[in-house]
C-alpha cells in the first residue's frame, strides 16, 4: 500500500513540481476552471456522507428490446444495473414474449414459447460491442486532404457543435446551388429508415439507398413476379421435406428461431436436403448434402421440375385453379432432363431423378433459397426456377410450405414532398426493372468511378454501413468514395469506409436507441426496440437528423416545417396508431416483450379468400377483377371471386407476361424461368470457382472487433478440397495466392472435404485494416476478389461469382 508523501520537501524534483503547481494554478481560468464547475464549491461536500458510503445501487431492471447485431432482429431482454445516474447493461438474453427467437408461425410460437427462445452468438455478445473500447467516442474531421487505403486521415477531434455546423453548412451550400440531388445517402434498412427517407425526400434528393440489394434482391424480385409478395418465409416446422438451395440458416443465422424450427421438423420426421457447393452447418444436420457447381442451381431446379411433371407428381388442383403458364412451363422442361442437368451441375442424373421423386411424393414441402443463389449474375432466373418447383408441388401459402407473410404493422406516415426532377443515380426500375426500393448500390458506385451516371454526386452520407468491405469489388468501392467532394460517416467504430471520410460521427449501439420493428413473422407482429441505456457517446442519430432538418428548414409542400417540433417517439407513435396495431407507443412499451401481435395468427391460402365484387368492378378477359378505380383487387375463377395473388394475372405465374421488358443489359427478360448460365465461369487460366459464406460467429464485416466473437472465430482461411489441393501441392496452413484476372492476394489454406472439388471459398468479413485493435490484420478480405456488378433484373450485388487460380506463395 502506497503512502502519500509531502511534495513540498526540499529536492530538485519536488521544487520543480512546486513551480509547476504554481504555473498550473495560473491556468485555472482555462475552460471555466481546472475543475468541473459543478465540483468547485465546498458546500456540496458538506452535504454528503463521505469515506466509504457505497453509491446507491438500485435493483436490476430488465428491459425488453430488439437486437440489431444483424438485421434478423431477435427479441432480447437487457439486464441493466443502475448506479446513481449511470446505467450499465450487464447481459442480454432472449425475450420469450417476442416471437422472433421462437417461431415464425403463430401456432408454433404459442405451443413452444415456454420452452425458451433462442439468441445467436452475436446477440449474446451485444455488450462487448456496446462497451468496446475501440468505439468511436467523438466527432472528428480529417486534416489530411489525401485519401486512400492505408493513408492516415490525420483525424482531429472536434466538438459535436462544430461537427453539426460543418454538416449543416455543407448541405445548405448544395441547396443554395440547387444541387440537392447530388446528396447521396446510404442508410441501413433497420434503423430510423423512414425518417432518413423523409429527410432525403424533403431535402430534395432521390438518392436514398439501403443495403437490401446486396443480399436477396433477386429472391424478392422473383417472388414478386411469380407470387406477388417479395419475401415468402419457409414454414419448416410443418414440412415433411425441406429442400434448401444456397442457404445455411442453421449457421448463417438471420432469424434465431429458424434453427429451432428446422430441428423440430427433423425430430418430427422431416427429411432435409441441402444443395450447396459448401457443406455448412445446415448440411451437417441434413439427410443429404448435394454439392453443386456454383450458379447452376437453376438447371437442377428445372430438371427436378422435369421429373415431377413427367411422373405427374405435381399438384393438379393448385395448378388448375391458381396458376397460369403451366403448359408452357411443362413444355419448356421437357428437354431439361436430369442428364442435361448433370452436365451442367456435376450432380449425377440418378441423384436428380431420385430427388425429384422424393420431392414430388412428399407433402408438405418447404423449398427455399437465399444468397447462395441470389448473389450470382443469373440469380433472378435461378430463383424463378426454384419458386416454380414450389408452385409445382402446390406449396405456396400452406402449412409446411412457403408462407406469404402478413406484414401489416406500423405504417410510415405520408409526407408531402415535391419529388426530385432528377433521375436516381442507379437508373431505378427503368434500368433494373425489378429492383427493390433499396436501389442498386453497385450501379451507383460504378457510375461514380466511370463518371457515367446522369450526374456526379457531391456529398455522401453513410449511416452504419461499411461499404468498403460489404460491397464486392473493394478497389472500385474505394475509388468511388474518393470521388465524392465530401463524405460523412456515422458509425459505432471507425471502419475502412470511415478511413475515406471527411467527417465522422460516433453512432449509437442498438441498446442506445429506439425504433419500431415489423417482425418477419408470418402473422402481424410489431416490437419496440427501446433505448436501454443512454448513448455512451453523443445522442441517437434520429435526434441529430431532426436537428439537421430544423437547421435546413425542411418543410412539406403544404408548408408544414416537418422537423421543427418533431420528437422521434411521437413520430413512432403516429406510425403505430396509423398501422395495424392501432396503439400508442406507451401502450406498446407496456405489452409483454414490448411486442404487439395480431392474435388471429398465421393465415394460410390467403389467395383463396373470397371477395365480394366492389361497386363499379370490371373483369378482364383473363379473369382479373378491378375495382371502380381500375385497381386490381381479385380474380374470377369458375364464377367465384377471390383475392388471388398480387401478380399481374392474380395467379401464381409459371409464365409471366412481361410486355417485352428488357434488363439492365438490354436483353429481353424471359417469360419463363429459363436456365441462364452465369456470366463469369472458370476457364483454363482461372479454373476454380470462388465463393464465400457467413457463419453464426459474425455479422458480415461488422463484428470482427467484438472480443467474444473473435474468440469464436478469429480469422478466415481458404477452404479447398483435398483432391484439388493435392494436385496443387497445397497443405493446410500453407500460404497461398488467390488470383483473379484483376487482382491477387495471399491467404492460408484449409483442406476440407466440405467443399466441392471445383470450388474454393472463405468466410466473408475478415481482412480489416481499420476497424479495431482486436481484428485489424486478421484474415483476408474476400470481397477484393469480386467485381462491383449487379444482376441485371433485380440489381442484386454479384458477391459470389468469381473465377480464380490458387497456388502456393
Amino acid at each position: 500500500m502506497k503512502k502519500i508523501k509531502d511534495l513540498t520537501s526540499n529536492d530538485i524534483t519536488r521544487r520543480g513540481f512546486l513551480k509547476l503547481a504554481t504555473a498550473a494554478g495560473g491556468a485555472a481560468f482555462i475552460g471555466g476552471g481546472l475543475l468541473n464547475p459543478a465540483n468547485a464549491g465546498i458546500e456540496c461536500i458538506d452535504c454528503h456522507k463521505i469515506a466509504g458510503a457505497p453509491a446507491r445501487k438500485q435493483p436490476h431492471k430488465w428491459i425488453s428490446t430488439v437486437c440489431n447485431m444483424c438485421s434478423g432482429q431477435t427479441g432480447v431482454l437487457a439486464d441493466v444495473l443502475t448506479v446513481e445516474n449511470k446505467e450499465i447493461v450487464i447481459k442480454v438474453v432472449p425475450e420469450l414474449q417476442n416471437p422472433m427467437g421462437v417461431a415464425n408461425v403463430y401456432q408454433d410460437y404459442i405451443e413452444n414459447k415456454d420452452q425458451g427462445a433462442a439468441l445467436c452468438p452475436r446477440g449474446n455478445a451485444s455488450i462487448m460491442d456496446l462497451y468496446d473500447p475501440d468505439r468511436l467516442s467523438k466527432p472528428m474531421k480529417r486534416t489530411n486532404p489525401v485519401k486512400g487505403k492505408g493513408i492516415d486521415p490525420k483525424w482531429e477531434v472536434i466538438s459535436w457543435g462544430e461537427a453539426n455546423e460543418i454538416l449543416t453548412s455543407k448541405l445548405k451550400t448544395l441547396k443554395t446551388n440547387n444541387e440537392e440531388h447530388t446528396l447521396l445517402w446510404f442508410g441501413d434498412g433497420d434503423n430510423f429508415t423512414h425518417l432518413q427517407q423523409d429527410f432525403c425526400n424533403l431535402y430534395g434528393t432521390p438518392n436514398f439507398f439501403t443495403n437490401g440489394n446486396l443480399y436477396d434482391a433477386a429472391r424478392s424480385a422473383a417472388f414478386t413476379l411469380m407470387v406477388g409478395h417479395e419475401r415468402l418465409l419457409a414454414d419448416t416446422v410443418e414440412a415433411k421435406f425441406i429442400l434448401l438451395f444456397g442457404t445455411n440458416p442453421l449457421s448463417a443465422i438471420k432469424w434465431a428461431h429458424v434453427p429451432r424450427t428446422m430441428i423440430r421438423s427433423i425430430e418430427h420426421g422431416a427429411q432435409m436436403v441441402v444443395v450447396d457447393p459448401y457443406h455448412g452447418f445446415t448440411a451437417s444436420k441434413a439427410h443429404s448434402w448435394i454439392p453443386i457447381r456454383p450458379g447452376t442451381d437453376g438447371a437442377l431446379a428445372l430438371a427436378l421440375g422435369h421429373v415431377i411433371v413427367k411422373l405427374g407428381l405435381y399438384d393438379e388442383d393448385f395448378i388448375d385453379k391458381w396458376a397460369v403458364g403451366f403448359d408452357d412451363y411443362a413444355e419448356y422442361v421437357k428437354g431439361k432432363t436430369p442428364q442435361w442437368a448433370e452436365s451442367i451441375t456435376g450432380i449425377p442424373a440418378k441423384t436428380i431423378e431420385q430427388l425429384g421423386r422424393e420431392l414430388g411424393n412428399t407433402r408438405p414441402v418447404a423449398i427455399d433459397a437465399w444468397s447462395g443463389i441470389t448473389q450470382h449474375s443469373n440469380g433472378f432466373q435461378t430463383m424463378r426456377a426454384i419458386i416454380a418447383l414450389a408452385g409445382l408441388v402446390g406449396q405456396i401459402d400452406n402449412p409446411g410450405g412457403l408462407i406469404i407473410p402478413d406484414m401489416t404493422g406500423s405504417l410510415h406516415q405520408n409526407v408531402e414532398y415535391e419529388p426530385s426532377t432528377y433521375p436516381r443515380l442507379d437508373g431505378g426500375t427503368e434500368k433494373y426493372p425489378f429492383a427493390q426500393d433499396s436501389g442498386v448500390i453497385t450501379e451507383v458506385l460504378n457510375n461514380m468511378v466511370n463518371e457515367a451516371g446522369p450526374y456526379n454526386p457531391k456529398i455522401g452520407i453513410v449511416m452504419h454501413q461499411n461499404l468498403v468491405l460489404s460491397i464486392p469489388g473493394t478497389d472500385t468501392v474505394i475509388e468511388a468514395l474518393k470521388k465524392l467532394e465530401y463524405l460523412v460517416v456515422v458509425d459505432t467504430h471507425l471502419t475502412e469506409t470511415s478511413e475515406l471520410a471527411d467527417l465522422v460521427f460516433p453512432g449509437t449501439h442498438y441498446l442506445e436507441r429506439t425504433d419500431l420493428v415489423n417482425n418477419w413473422t408470418t402473422w402481424p407482429s410489431v416490437s419496440l426496440r427501446q433505448q436501454v441505456v443512454k448513448p455512451l457517446y453523443g445522442k441517437p442519430e434520429y435526434e441529430i437528423l431532426i436537428e439537421l432538418g430544423k437547421q435546413l428548414g425542411l418543410s412539406e409542400t403544404n408548408g408544414n416545417p416537418f422537423f421543427d417540433n418533431l420528437i422521434y417517439e411521437g413520430y413512432l407513435d403516429t406510425e403505430l396508431k396509423n398501422g395495424a396495431p392501432g396503439i400508442s407507443l406507451e401502450e406498446l412499451k407496456e405489452l409483454p416483450g414490448a411486442t404487439w401481435m395480431d392474435t388471429e395468427g398465421t393465415k394460410y391460402r390467403k389467395y383463396s379468400t373470397t371477395i365480394t365484387l366492389p361497386a363499379g368492378a370490371t373483369i378482364d378477359e383473363n379473369g382479373v377483377v378491378y375495382d371502380g378505380s381500375q385497381n386490381p383487387v381479385g380474380v374470377s375463377i369458375w364464377d367465384k371471386y377471390y383475392t388471388g395473388f398480387n401478380t399481374k394475372s392474380r395467379k401464381f405465374e409459371f409464365l409471366s407476361d412481361l410486355d417485352g421488358i428488357v434488363d439492365a443489359n438490354g436483353e429481353l427478360i424471359p417469360e419463363l424461368p429459363e436456365y441462364k448460365e452465369m456470366d463469369n465461369t472458370p476457364d483454363y487460366e482461372y479454373p476454380l470457382y470462388l465463393i464465400n459464406w457467413k457463419e453464426a460467429s459474425h455479422t458480415g464485416a461488422r463484428t470482427q472487433n467484438n472480443i467474444w466473437l473473435d474468440e469464436l472465430k478469429h480469422t478466415n482461411q481458404l477452404a479447398i478440397n483435398p483432391k484439388t489441393a493435392d494436385m496443387l501441392g497445397i497443405k493446410t496452413d500453407d500460404m497461398v495466392w488467390v488470383e483473379t484476372n484483376f487482382t491477387k492476394a495471399k491467404t492460408t489454406a484449409l483442406l476440407t472435404d466440405r467443399i466441392h472439388p471445383n470450388v474454393v471459398g472463405m468466410m466473408h468479413g475478415f481482412g480489416h485494416w481499420y476497424l479495431g485493435e482486436v481484428t485489424n490484420g486478421n484474415g483476408t478480405n474476400d470481397y477484393q476478389f469480386y467485381k462491383t456488378e449487379a444482376e441485371p433484373v433485380s440489381g442484386n450485388a454479384i458477391s459470389k461469382e468469381s473465377s480464380v487460380k490458387v497456388y502456393r506463395a
Binding site: 503547481a21 465546498i42 458538506d46 485493435e773
Partner: protein, 207 residues
C-alpha cells in the same frame, strides 16, 4: 509542531493543482486559450526544473515557438486524437479497459469509482465515462480541494490515498508509461513523463 498529516493537508493545493493540470492535458485536445497560456512560458519555465526532460523541452519550446496558436491547435488536436481516439496507435484512457483481462468499458472499475464520486459529492460530467483518466485525476484534485475544509479535510486526505491505491495505482502509471514510450507528439510524452514522476513522488513506498 505540524505532524505529517498537517503538512500534507497544507500542501494539498499543490498536489491539487498538479492533478488538475494533468487532468486538463489528458481530457481533450488543447484549446487555443490553453495553448496561448502555454506559449506564455510559465509552464515551460517550470519544466526547466526537470533535468530528465531538458532535451525534449528544447524541442517543445521550438514547436510552440515556430507555430501559431491555431496551427498548434490542429497539431495537438491530431496528436490527441491519434493517442486516445483512433484505434491505430490508440492507448485506451479508461481504467476498465486496463484492469480487466478482456478489454471492456464500464466494467467493475467504473462502478467502483462511481462509488467514490457519489459518496464524496463529486459530479461526473455526462459526456464521458466515469473511469476516464482525466476524470479520475480531476477527482483527485477535488479531494485536494476538500482538504482545506477544517472538518472534513483529513477524511478527504484519507480518500485521496485510498483512491490512489484502489484505482489510479493499478493503471495510471502504466498508461502514462505507454504514452511516454510511444511515438506521439512530444507535448504528450513530456506530460506523461511528468505525470509518472508526480505519482512516484507523491505516493512513494514507505522507507
Amino acid at each position: 509542531m505540524q505532524n505529517s498529516s498537517d503538512i500534507l493537508l497544507d500542501s494539498a493545493h499543490v498536489r491539487g493543482n498538479l492533478y488538475g493540470l494533468f487532468s486538463l492535458v489528458f481530457r481533450s485536445k488543447p484549446s487555443v486559450r490553453f495553448i496561448e497560456y502555454l506559449k506564455q512560458g510559465e509552464i515551460f519555465d517550470a519544466l526547466e526544473s526537470f533535468p530528465q526532460v531538458s532535451d525534449e523541452l528544447v524541442r517543445l519550446r521550438d514547436l510552440f515557438g515556430s507555430n501559431s496558436s491555431q496551427e498548434l491547435e490542429e497539431i495537438l488536436g491530431v496528436a490527441y486524437t491519434d493517442l486516445f481516439i483512433t484505434p491505430k496507435k490508440r492507448i485506451i484512457p479508461y481504467e476498465s479497459a486496463f484492469s480487466q483481462n478482456k478489454s471492456q468499458l464500464m466494467g467493475p472499475a467504473a462502478v467502483d469509482v462511481m462509488n467514490y464520486y457519489v459518496s464524496t459529492g463529486f459530479n461526473v460530467p455526462d459526456e464521458e465515462l466515469p473511469d476516464h483518466i482525466y476524470i479520475e485525476l480531476e477527482f483527485m484534485q477535488y479531494l485536494c480541494l476538500g482538504q482545506i475544509d477544517k472538518k472534513l479535510g483529513r477524511q478527504f486526505l484519507e480518500i485521496e490515498i485510498e483512491f490512489y491505491n484502489s484505482h489510479l495505482s493499478k493503471w495510471a502509471p502504466e498508461l502514462f508509461m505507454r504514452i511516454k514510450d510511444s511515438d506521439c507528439n512530444i507535448f504528450y510524452r513530456i506530460m506523461a513523463d511528468l505525470a509518472i514522476q508526480l505519482l512516484e513522488i507523491v505516493f512513494e513506498k514507505p522507507d
